[in-house]
């Protein structure tokens, strides 16, 4: 479904030295799989997800979606992807429906199809009451629900969700996590990043642990426990960090 090969991204800030945000990231995500990206702030998760979502181009390395290299047809690849991050906000001066209609049209959907999808998603995410309100009047939780609707509107095969539960209350968080499970059952591949270890533990089929631009380990939670002898993802992460320190890197 999605394959990354030796992705690397270097930023050149005007004032300081070049920053290597992601170093040599390779992995594969299969259909109907929840793939987690774990790591502290600044680990390079957002940069990696932005490269997968073709928002930015890798300095080197490539990425394939359904066998098509993303840099060869980035505009059509984006039809297959729903991308959500902390930086993908909604237009405050438009109503939720107007926002969804706009994005639906950009994805090439017909008006009838958009109306039908908005109805379905409003039911799924319990957000009928916000549809006609301007986005700048919505609460954080309501905004996130409209954003999720925006991401899934065109029914993409791959969902890239960057910290989708960050800053949400328990109820909305739970709704979002339930939605991820629902999407997985519907055959979507979901790549999501978080720094909540328990979230990753319960949801992910497989996950990678990132630190300072490196992928430290990859596998299902059980495999990672076995490899490190830990009994929680948090523990796995800390042990791997210790090993890195011991290796002198």
């Amino acid at each position: 479904m999605l394959r990354a090969e030796e992705l690397r991204k270097v930023f050149y800030p005007a004032r300081s030295k070049p920053v290597e945000a992601v170093r040599c990231a390779s992995f594969e995500v299969k259909a109907g799989e929840v793939f987690g990206l774990l790591g502290p702030n600044g680990a390079g998760k957002t940069t990696l997800l932005r490269m997968l979502g073709t928002i930015i181009t890798p300095t080197s390395g490539h990425c394939w979606v359904n066998g098509v290299r993303t840099d060869q047809a980035p505009d059509s690849i984006r039809r297959e992807i729903g991308f959500l991050s902390g930086n993908t906000k909604l237009y405050g001066r438009l109503t939720a429906t107007e926002v969804l209609r706009y994005f639906g049209r950009l994805y090439g959907m017909t008006d009838g199809h958009i109306t039908q999808r908005i109805g379905e998603l409003a039911d799924l995410l319990a957000m009928q009451d916000v549809l006609d309100r301007r986005c700048d009047t919505l609460s954080t939780g309501q905004t996130q629900k409209v954003s999720i609707a925006r991401v899934i509107l065109h029914n993409p095969k791959i969902l890239i969700l960057d910290e989708p539960t960050l800053g949400l209350d328990i109820l909305t968080s739970r709704a979002i996590l339930e939605f991820i499970v629902h999407a997985k059952q519907g055959g979507h591949s979901i790549i999501f990043s978080t720094h909540y270890m328990t979230e990753a533990q319960t949801l992910c089929d497989r996950l990678v642990l990132m630190h300072q631009g490196d992928l430290m380990a990859e596998g299902s939670p059980e495999e990672l426990y076995r490899q490190t002898g830990a009994d929680s993802i948090q523990d796995v992460f800390l042990r791997l960090l210790d090993q890195r320190g011991g290796n002198g890197s």
């Binding site: 050149y12 004032r15 300081s16 505009d75 906000k89 405050g92 001066r93 994005f103 950009l106």
Partner: protein
């Protein structure tokens, strides 16, 4: 590019922008309400002030041997004008007198302190002078900074002129001569311009300014809102995650800005036309007898004006988007846009300058050409050829600006920049050592040097030419270069391109230098035909070269005008600026830009082209040879040879021949040799150089 997607983006952006109060106020509020209102209020205020002034009584003091004579004149005039006012307004009561004579002990102090409006001073015996038939000097002293005093002085002038005419006709009568005897010619000036041309002239001065300002304001808010504003609100990345390509996004946004700018421009044109018509009709009602222009524009002119607004709005919209997309927030965008706004309003002053015509050069200068075309259209002067040239050249500039915008939108460091605030700090410790300045700091250094030359260098050179030149080169140019490199922790050796000099490029350079001198002589003889050197510039050069008459003088001149520029100017342009630009640009764009800056640096329209070409040549030599010393040698040789030729250190016969070359150009044979030498030099440099400057990533 899918036009449907562009349409979807355009529709959404229009909806989004029109829901923004700021944009609505700038677009619709200002032209429709505020701006006619301001004009009418101003108008009423002027009328009020005028009638107030008319009702004011001017206080006059008289210093004369016969004050009562003068007072009699003033009263007579005042009574006459009071009668005229009463007749005009049809009132039975007599209007009050508008001049009163007051006594003052210190009339001059009273005048400057506002207790007196006018002081009349007549020296000598007035009555005796008049009796003997001579001329009496009469001074009307007033305070030119006070409107009240100015108005009073005008009244007194009128009163005294009337008295003079009366005295004159008395004298003529006594001598038995007719009134016409002292007036052999009756001269009248009559403005024969048809009314539409008169009004067109006035409109031509006001409208371009208003039009450009309003178009720009109409473009600014949407442009900032749709680029920097969108970045600030965090919705840009959402848009980038959709299948819409960057080109479709930039097109959709651009057409939104363009449409809104056009709308604002047309709204303003209509609103301003209506307001002016109203103001003029008020004026003609108020000021009887005064010529008031009638608004009358041929329909064809209106259509052409609307037609020219299209590429103008296109250009301004695209440029504004280019600037605004560089900013990370609305506020930052405003900081960037303000200088651009000032820059584009400067050409509107062209229309008001006497003698500037829409000619072969300025019809290609963006904005200035539209301003001048507007003026000519208003007076019905512009022909179809000029209209189409201006339209086409504006269209080309507009397309270039749009391409630039599209290019900027493709750059993720521009569109997704996450650095906060302006990338600048005053703490040296925050900088990391770097191989060259950033392009921004290199251009900043250039600007700093230009400012210093303007304030310090030119003053020093005016005080004393040769020491002034030395101060400019070492203190104003090299000094700041070294300081800035130190401050930004830029490596001196790599920033200044101080690579080793190798033999072959040096040989090439030694061929290029004398050949360039000959080619430049040829160039200036061509240029002199199109753009002759003004006398004052010639004189500066003559003074400069005259000092090279003696051997010591020549050596000093060579130091000041050949060796110093070769070291200091090279360090700035082919060192700091070139290596800075190379951080972002490919070799040729960097070379061309360095050359252009070197041309601008000479602050003279006559030296712009040759010095820019020289700048390109020198930058090319440094990029190819990797060593600034090569360009220093060439620069020193070119200036030095020029000085030796110009300061008359050559045998007389040769000097005489050079003077004919200056006017007639080089003989073809010599020109051919110079060209061959130049090309051979370039070939040697091109094929024996290994670039020492590492390519950029």
């Amino acid at each position: 590019m899918n036009p449907r997607i562009v349409g979807v983006i355009l529709k959404k952006e229009l909806l989004d922008t029109l829901r923004d109060k700021r944009t609505l106020i700038m677009m619709v509020g200002v032209p429709i309400l505020l701006y006619p209102a301001l004009m009418l209020i101003g108008m009423q205020f002027v009328l009020l002030q005028h009638s107030k002034l008319q009702a004011t009584v001017s206080r006059v003091a008289i210093q004369s041997s016969a004050p009562e004579t003068i007072e009699r004149w003033l009263v007579a005039y005042s009574e006459k004008s009071a009668r005229e006012v009463s007749e005009k307004e049809g009132e039975s009561e007599e209007a009050p007198l508008n001049i009163t004579v007051v006594k003052s002990d210190q009339p001059e102090v009273d005048l400057t302190e506002g207790r007196l409006d006018v002081l009349i001073v007549v020296t000598g015996d007035l009555q005796a002078t008049l009796d003997t038939g001579e001329t009496a000097p009469v001074e009307v002293r007033y305070d030119g900074t006070e409107i009240r005093s100015q108005d009073a002085a005008k009244r007194i002038d009128d009163a005294l002129l009337e008295a003079r005419d009366e005295l004159q006709s008395d004298r003529l009568k006594e001598a038995g001569l007719a009134k016409s005897f002292a007036r052999p010619l009756d001269i009248r000036r009559i403005n024969m311009a048809p009314p539409h041309k008169k009004s067109g002239f006035i409109l031509g001065l006001i409208l371009p300014m208003a039009m450009i300002v309003m178009l720009a304001l109409g473009a600014f808010y949407p442009a900032m809102d749709l680029t920097a504003g969108e970045k600030e609100r965090g919705t840009f990345e959402t848009l980038l995650s959709t299948p819409a390509s960057k080109l479709e996004i930039v097109a959709g946004k651009f057409f939104t800005v363009f449409l809104l700018a056009m709308l604002t421009g047309v709204l303003n044109l209509a609103s301003m036309g209506a307001t002016l018509a109203l103001v003029f009709s008020e004026l003609s009602h108020f000021a009887q007898g005064v010529e008031v222009p009638q608004i009358h524009l041929p329909l064809a002119s209106i259509l052409i004006i609307l037609g020219v607004i299209v590429p103008l709005a296109f250009f301004v919209s695209a440029m504004t988007m280019c600037i605004a997309v560089l900013a990370r927030s609305f506020k930052e965008a405003q900081n960037y846009i303000t200088p651009f706004f000032i820059l584009i309003t400067i050409p509107t002053a062209f229309a008001a300058m006497p003698g500037i015509e829409l000619g072969p050069v300025n019809q290609f200068i963006p904005i200035a050409n539209v301003v001048l075309l507007f003026r000519d259209l208003m007076t019905g002067k512009a022909g179809l050829e000029v209209v189409s040239t201006v339209f086409l050249s504006m269209a080309v500039f507009a397309m270039l600006a749009l391409l630039l915008a599209a290019w900027l939108f493709q750059r993720e460091d521009v569109v997704l920049s996450e650095e906060k605030g302006l990338p600048f700090t005053w703490r040296r410790s925050e900088f990391v050592s770097r191989p060259a300045l950033t392009p921004a700091s290199a251009l900043g250094l250039f600007a700093l040097v230009m400012v210093l030359i303007f304030y310090v260098g030119s003053l020093a050179q005016r005080a004393s030419l040769i020491p002034g030149l030395l101060i400019t080169e070492w203190g104003v140019i090299l000094g700041p270069v070294l300081l800035v490199l130190w401050f930004f922790r830029a490596n001196f050796k790599s920033t200044l391109n101080m690579g080793r000099v190798r033999l072959m490029p040096l040989l090439g350079a030694l061929l290029i230098a004398p050949a360039s001198v000959m080619l430049m002589v040829q160039f200036s003889s061509w240029q002199n035909k199109v753009l002759p050197l003004p006398e004052d510039i010639k004189q500066v050069f003559e003074t400069l070269f005259a000092s090279g008459g003696t051997l010591t003088g020549l050596l000093v001149l060579l130091l000041a005008a050949a060796i110093s520029p070769a070291i200091c100017e090279e360090a700035l342009f082919r060192g700091a600026v070139l290596s800075g630009l190379r951080q972002r640009l490919k070799p040729w764009p960097a070379i061309l830009l360095t050359g252009a800056l070197f041309g601008i640096f000479h602050i003279s329209i006559h030296r712009l082209v040759p010095t820019a070409i020289l700048g390109v040549l020198l930058a090319y030599l440094v990029v190819r040879s990797g060593s600034i010393f090569i360009s220093m040698i060439v620069h020193a040789l070119i200036n030095g040879l020029g000085i030796i030729i110009a300061s008359g250190q050559l045998p007389v016969s040769l000097t005489a021949r050079l003077e004919t070359i200056e006017t007639n150009g080089l003989p073809w044979g010599i020109l051919l040799i110079a060209l061959l030498m130049f090309l051979t030099g370039i070939l040697i440099v091109e094929y024996t150089s290994k670039p020492k400057i590492p390519p950029i990533e």
